[in-house]
Symmetry: D2
Subunit: 381 residues, 4 copies
């Protein structure tokens, strides 16, 4: 019945099956603002599993596929076919899946990273740009937190002056409290150990990409040259776990990025600070409804989401100040904006990440890999 | 199409129209976990407005009502009629609306407070208990935060020993930065000034009820006797704005409750501390993913939602530790649990607030009013 | 040698012997700014102990007394006798000791509370006022934190408008992690169980007095009427442990004070919030270098000690912003100011607590005792 | 008079004159625990200024010098001459001043850094080691915070397992809210612009040395190889302002150090995190009475100074938990321990920084300078 509502968008999913955490997240995000109707999906390469899971989501069995090529083909033929596909498979498959839907003029919401490596990224970028009929959104979801956008706006408005230093980090602990060994690595890390799935770098594709995206999103600057030192789990277990990166930005600013997926007891992770000629900003995912603004000459200002003098953040808020928002509220902002964008609802500016930022992040990761191998400063290009 | 899914529950809404903040919140909460299909509603007493707003939500025009009596009657007659009605009108109407649906065997999710005053509360309670076919949930949503439930569980398990002291407060600022005067009061406070709408006490019905509920929910204790001092805005503006309450609990514990809706610059508001014979707990809505546990003899433990050693909270979490949840995630927990409850999905214990807690809170508010008038300690009964 | 320096003040101590924590604190405070030379003391009623301890502090054996009357007499006769005596004995002895020194024209720094009960307080007050030659300071040391004084100044300057609400609490845990019983009470609580030593109320004299003083110090208001509920440890152990107080202030403001010395796992204790018609202030001893200012209509401002826009706090700071100060730095401010005051160094305004605030606090405690007994609102007079 | 006390140590000062902030700090630290008597000093190269300032400190005019060579010579000849000299001049003079006193068998407390550059550092180190009669302490004062020592102890005891990652930063803002230009640089930065005074690197000598020292102090590891990028204020103003350093430690751990003296609005600065195989530790100077311990598999533990389960910290504490200590309390710990050490008071282990740590830090800074010039990884040696 809801599906009859004219402004709800028919969408489908590739990935995000029964054991997927991120699948759950995307589906909540899609429902959040009542803008999408889930109609189709590939939830497994096994037809039965895909149908069973689809049924649990209320899908028509005929639209539960086990193959994304088939899905793109069949959905494109239906009058009530999906307008958007959300891709939430591992990194290395993003490009080839997206391309099939682009060819069928189906818009894309893709989980990050943009692609598994730079070659895939360049191909995908070209493909997206080649089809003017489709739109593309990339779920670098942290950039959709209202106070992150408040920060971006403040930088744009010159509130901290010229950006001079940037410090960003995203650390996690994938270890489940164990030391990773040849014996337990596969059980604990699963596909994240396999470069044909996770792409060129586990730590950089999985979370480093978020950190870099956040940095360029807020600062409005891109890294021009970087120096990276990437560390694998061990000589035998060639899975990147740690990356330390020095960044020199376009405008002369200097920065550091640290990302690590085996920082034990270090779950708190995503934090960014931007220092400008007139003051600095700090945002921490753990306390996402606040943005710390330290003017160069003045008391610290703790801006709260949706509060007086944080007006920009209000556009991306659903609940009043004093009532915390979280990860899912932010994630849903991308789905919501993309719906508005597709509906040409207004000529307003949009703030969700797209293919340009996706390619930029892929270039950064590629430069990191080269720099770490050569032990040299490398241009991001 | 989704509506065809067997385990989705047809539900309707009374209240929560175009200008309602809480209506927006309830609808997101209902969508969150894909367990409800919105089918009907009274969104205004004006038929046109109700239909227009209903249409924007994708509703069948025939099921957009302007009168809850009509809605209860007609929905009860439909084969595909609603199973649940969510009531989100002002306090004084909760009882009479709920009763109509109870008579038609339609389950209730009601916004707080339970009722506008003690008389209404007692009637409503009796009505609910009189119909074994219906279930009732009350959206004292703060009790659905995972770490609040972790706290409740810890108290139950004796982690802090016997509860000895309790301190709870919920303060807000409704002033919009102005001094309330006879001139601007109506513009700023709207129906909250009118006792026939807001019920016996603006501050206690609107937010004090939350604070008291949270206290009894976590501590497992009820106030036996209380001493309250309630303050109106002014002699002319007879709208309760501030309440200071001393509480003596069943088990001998002592407590304090403070609630205020005109605490300027005091928007941070909901905080509870429970001190037991072995340690204390502290939870603050502003930092909802954490629970501070101070053992009597040992370092402070900062429990994080869904993290090791906060296992109970995991049951009520959707995203992994390190990724903050907020107000809407908690609110949705009540809708989710109520769906499970209606579906008899399991014999598991449920944690959403119900009519017993509703009546208890109404008794407390009533005792506060009497105590404040008489300037005496009063039994909560 | 240092003693020859003209502007160093000769001072003596009564109390603060080998096992005294507060003695240690006072002596560090006196040394902090190089303004005093310790010359004499009564460190025990046992002459040998007093001499031995005095020797460890570098004192002349002839000036290590075992009796304060003797000390007052002899020091008054010496040409190089003490100009100031610091009294750090238990509450009930403050009055009688101070009086002996006042009679000899020796200035007083007294530990809090002003006196053991209201009778002593009134006598002492009269005595102080009767001798124009002497000056008196009371170590309500929390009021000497730079950011507390910044808060006081902000209220004076009208930054938060008219004070409307006040919430102050000081809770501690004296239990050492045990349940207090008739058996262990004396071992754990020592003289704090004995009213002839601790005065009329253990919890109010020991820490409640600090909380109330802080409230009147910052707000510039005094409680006019109060309603208090004081709780003893048990029927047998008649030692006040918990006090809940409602306060109505001179200017119409309402407030609450909570103090408790057996709040298990509740060691974090001293916190004050003042809400005015234009905004609110919050200060917590645990984070003493900051003052939170929430303007009614504007982002929260986190003022740091000695930082831009916290200029008043600079007067009372020794180290630069970014470098935390603590309890001892604040305590020493009282000694430092008192030295300046005695030296008539300038006509500047002084901010240390004196006999007026001491008497006021004694009146408050007395009113609390009466109110709690009568279960009535009582005037503070 | 106090000077007659046998266990008080006669000490003198070189530097720390009327306009010196650090001089003030050292003198308070020396007085804190009543273990030193200030007897002599060079407070200026101008005899009159030195005498006048010395007089204000209560010194004998004959012992107020204008030249440290003279002071060393004359004090060494006196029977009551100083046993310890505290040096608090700019970095480049530390070595030559210290050497003169070492030659006269006078013990040294030196402000950091150990020396102006690696050549000076090696000479000074040799000199110290050549005279068995003298002891040397270096005021890397941050390492004397009780909770820093608790952290060191926890690492030693294996509480976080093998150290794997380390992140340390110390950032300040010397700009006084202005953009540094050729015109205002000298006014704002003073001698910090002059390498003949500040030594080889302003940012690394002034604050980076503290950050590195803290890292090796807590972790028990030294950097083996480092990669550094140091930035000057501008081509014209050759004053190092920013250093980003990657560190590979002896035991295989990886680390990052960031130090900056022109991070606008970034005054909060000193923070260290150490990640081990079993958990991590975090300490922030801004909240110095706490140490965050994140076990790999378990809730975060917030250890408080002097509290249950932070027993080691108690040794270095003066006031009880719940009462904050700060910068001066920590600074004084070095003076206190050094006094104990000189008095051979016990065979206890000492924790103050000495010449070994001084040389190590000088090597690190030297390696940073070389690495930044060569754009290569460099061994710390």
């Amino acid at each position: 019945m809801n599906a009859m509502r004219s402004n709800k968008i028919f969408f489908g999913i590739v990935g995000g099956g029964p054991n997927s955490w991120i699948g759950h997240v995307h589906r909540i995000a899609a429902r959040f603002d009542n803008r999408y109707t889930l109609c189709a999906g590939v939830f497994s390469r096994n037809k039965n599993i895909s149908m069973k899971f689809g049924a649990s989501l209320g899908l028509d069995p005929n639209r539960c596929y086990s193959n994304y090529v088939e899905m793109a083909l069949k959905e494109a033929k239906r009058k009530d076919g999906i307008k958007v596909v959300a891709i939430m498979t591992p990194p290395s498959s993003h490009q080839r899946i997206a391309e099939k839907f682009i060819e069928k003029n189906i818009n894309i919401i893709s989980d990050k990273p943009f692609a598994g490596d730079i070659l895939q990224a360049k191909k995908l970028y070209k493909k997206i740009k080649s089809n003017k009929k489709i739109k593309y959104a990339l779920t670098h979801n942290y950039s959709a937190y209202p106070m992150v956008r408040e920060a971006k706006k403040m930088v744009e408005l010159g509130k901290i002056g010229k950006v001079e230093y940037l410090n960003v980090e995203y650390i996690q602990d994938w270890s489940e409290g164990e030391q990773i060994t040849s014996k337990n690595a596969k059980r604990i890390l699963k596909w994240k150990m396999d470069k044909s799935i996770v792409g060129c770098s586990a730590v950089l594709n999985e979370i480093g990409s978020h950190a870099y995206h956040l940095a360029i999103y807020i600062s409005g600057q891109k890294a021009k040259k970087i120096y990276a030192d990437i560390e694998q789990i061990s000589k035998k277990i060639k899975c990147d776990k740690n990356a330390r990166v020095l960044m020199n930005f376009d405008n002369g600013a200097k920065g550091q990025l640290w990302t690590n997926v085996l920082a034990k007891g270090g779950v708190y992770g995503l934090r960014i600070r931007v220092y400008g000629s007139k003051g600095s900003l700090e945002w921490i995912q753990n306390d996402p409804n606040y943005l710390k603004f330290n003017p160069s000459k003045g008391a610290v200002i703790l801006k709260e989401r949706d509060f007086y003098f944080s007006k920009f953040s209000k556009k991306f808020s659903r609940v009043k100040y004093g009532h915390p928002e979280g990860y899912l509220d932010a994630f849903a902002n991308i789905y919501k904006e993309f719906a508005d964008f597709l509906n040409n609802k207004s000529k307003k500016k949009f703030f969700f990440p797209n293919e340009d930022e996706g390619l930029e992040t892929a270039k950064f990761i590629n430069a990191c890999k080269i720099s770490s191998n050569k032990k040299k400063w490398v241009e991001v290009k």
